[in-house]
């Protein structure tokens, strides 16, 4: 039981990732694939951010007392800032990929009038 409590944050995000991954590769509608891609990438971001947590720690912003250098800064008191930073970049990358994928979906819709992969393949042949 303790084992599950110690690791459950990783597992719920992995299950969320796999839901998104399945939607990406198994569905035939282009918009469902894009939504699956979004779920997959969001779950990865949440997975990373959850690893930054420390028990009893506060946000990674220096309090007034620590900022004026009155005493040594306790590292265990602040959350790890590095995953937050990396994930800010990853969120931007996710949004950019979403934008380009939707633009391509619009192009496909203008051209073929449908968003179902099987029908588009038939129309191309």
């Amino acid at each position: 039981m303790e084992f599950i409590v110690a690791k459950y944050n990783y597992w719920i995000y992995i299950i969320l990732m796999m839901i998104g991954f399945y939607a990406m590769i198994a569905k035939k509608n282009l918009i469902k694939k894009i939504i699956g891609m979004n779920i997959f990438q969001t779950a990865i971001i949440l997975f990373f951010v959850s690893t930054a947590y420390k028990k009893g720690a506060t946000l990674p912003i220096l309090t007034n007392a620590d900022a004026h250098g009155e005493h040594a800064i306790a590292v265990a008191q602040y959350l790890n800032p590095l995953p937050h930073v990396l994930m800010l970049t990853a969120i931007v990358v996710m949004v950019a990929t979403l934008g380009v994928a939707l633009a391509i979906a619009i192009m496909i819709y203008r051209r073929y009038g449908t968003l179902n992969e099987d029908e588009i393949l038939k129309a191309i042949k």
Partner: protein, 497 residues
């Protein structure tokens, strides 16, 4: 000034890409010389960096002045420097080639095409030069996004091909990010050199094992390793000629470079070769890729699609060469990276010229071309001889080292696969030469010799022909000078096993 050269290689195309819409707004015809100027400066800087690395050893460049692992660093060693010259040089040749082809295929989108073109080159250069894993992810995404856009504006069916590439490419990049995350969770560092120092005591950990697996699967999606190659034929066939000329030689080879970095710099060769049976698996996947690529190439009637399956087979050579895992075979694989960039450039350049003249790129469009386009066909003959592996072209030497390494390791199936592939390439290209030598055009026969267009030379425009001939000349030069290149550069790029 030369100590800032590593960062200039990446930053100059980036800033020029940001300014290209402005330049295009001033006057559209300025874009072409602007792109050539920025890529020329980048190529000169990468040649300077190569020169420095040959004479002084590995270059470390700390961005922002922060030492690693707290800041990001650029590490340029021999493998890096060679890849930088290849990427920037190829991009320069493609830029020179691009003018007429773009005016014919996508005349209303030239300014933004050149912007995305420069961003694509920035992405590749950023991937190749960096020493930080997360920085690599960011530039991998820049290159991928630019690639999706460049492919989607092509001919019929290009949009769906690009969409499939979006889905598979995002899966690959996300697997790479997951792997970086797993390594970060157990080590706390993102810097490649730092990780190679910390990881050896963690080699028994499950996290590291899973991270290694996800790195390789993610990168295999990007390098179109069989059976994850399904996005490549449609995407590169239907893209505009210039886009496939830029993407086809470079994307897969940059991904192979990333794989070599991860397998031999981040994870020591001891882990990749001895502790895990990864190299045996890679050898067999390489062999299957060679057979599959060669057989599927035989079945194609579209010239560009045939070239795409040749790329799949070439990736099989390189992955199999690394899978053989001795120094000679890895030397052959790295030499083959260089040769394959040049050979694929040549092939797709000829395909682009055919597209420009004939508006299609089928095998039947080659009929009678030996008389009509002698220079283009001469270049094609040179590239074809190199793909088959005939001395003194460069393709012979890399195949020679791969076969030698395979014999030394006892991997006879790999030797058979390489020879089989050469045989299939002979069939593929001599089929084209036969179509090119005899013209099957009915009007020529009706008018007889001396009349009609069969005797007139209708050669490609100079801006497309000159890069093609430069590539053909490079193939022979690299072949003749392969010993100095091996001794000065590639020998140091092979990891110590």
């Amino acid at each position: 000034m030369t100590e800032q050269a590593p960062i200039l290689i990446v930053v100059i195309p980036l800033i020029c890409a940001l300014l290209t819409p402005l330049v295009g707004w001033l006057r559209k015809s300025f874009c072409y010389p602007w792109v050539i100027l920025s890529l020329a400066i980048s190529t000169i800087c990468s040649l300077l960096v190569l020169n420095t690395v040959i004479h002084q050893g590995v270059i470390h460049y700390y961005l922002g002045g922060w030492l690693p692992p707290w800041g990001i660093e650029y590490v340029v060693d021999h493998l890096n420097a060679l890849m930088l010259v290849l990427v920037s040089g190829s991009a320069l040749l493609v830029a020179i080639y691009s003018k007429k082809s773009l005016e014919q295929e996508i005349p209303d989108k030239i300014v933004y095409f050149y912007t995305v073109f420069l961003l694509q080159v920035t992405g590749f250069l950023g991937i190749v030069i960096t020493g930080d894993l997360f920085n690599l992810y960011v530039f991998l995404e820049v290159a991928s996004l630019a690639g999706y856009a460049l492919i989607a504006i092509g001919e019929d069916g290009a949009e769906l091909a690009s969409f499939r590439y979006v889905v598979l490419g995002t899966v690959g990049a996300c697997f790479y990010l997951l792997a970086v995350g797993y390594l970060y969770i157990v080590t706390g560092s993102l810097n490649m050199a730092d990780l190679s120092r910390i990881l050896p005591e963690l080699y028994g950990s499950r996290v590291v094992l899973v991270a290694f697996a996800f790195f390789l699967v993610g990168i295999a999606l990007k390098m179109a390793l069989f059976p994850l190659h399904v996005w490549l034929p449609d995407a590169y066939t239907k893209a505009p000629s210039t886009a496939s000329l830029l993407l086809a030689p470079l994307m897969t080879k940059v991904a192979i470079y990333v794989m070599i970095r991860i397998m031999f710099t981040v994870f020591k060769p001891h882990f990749s070769i001895e502790l895990l049976p990864v190299t045996q698996i890679m050898l067999w996947i390489g062999i299957i890729a060679i057979f599959a690529g060669a057989i599927m190439a035989l079945a194609q009637v579209d010239f560009k699609r045939m070239l795409c399956y040749i790329i799949v087979a070439e990736v099989g050579y390189m992955v199999g060469g690394i899978g053989v895992a001795n120094a000679v075979a890895i030397k052959g694989a790295i030499l083959h990276i260089m040769n394959d960039v040049v050979m694929t450039l040549g092939l797709f350049a000829v395909a682009g010229i055919i597209s420009y003249k004939m508006r299609h790129h089928n095998l039947s469009d080659f009929s009678g071309l030996f008389k009509k386009m002698p220079f283009t066909m001469a270049a094609l003959v040179t590239v074809a001889l190199s793909i088959v592996g005939v001395p003194p072209t460069c393709g012979f030497f890399s195949k020679w080292y791969l076969i030698q390494g395979a014999i030394m390791a006892g991997s006879w199936v790999f030797v058979v696969a390489l020879l089989f592939s050469s045989l299939i390439n002979v069939i593929l290209f001599f089929r084209i030469f036969e179509i090119g030598y005899y013209s099957f055009n009915e009007t020529d026969e009706a008018h007889g010799h001396g009349h009609g267009e069969s005797a007139v030379i209708n050669e490609a425009p100079l801006s497309m022909l000159i890069p093609t001939c430069i590539v053909a000349a490079l193939i022979i030069l690299i072949g003749l000078y392969n010993q100095p290149i091996l001794v000065n550069i590639i020998q140091f790029a092979v990891p110590k096993l």
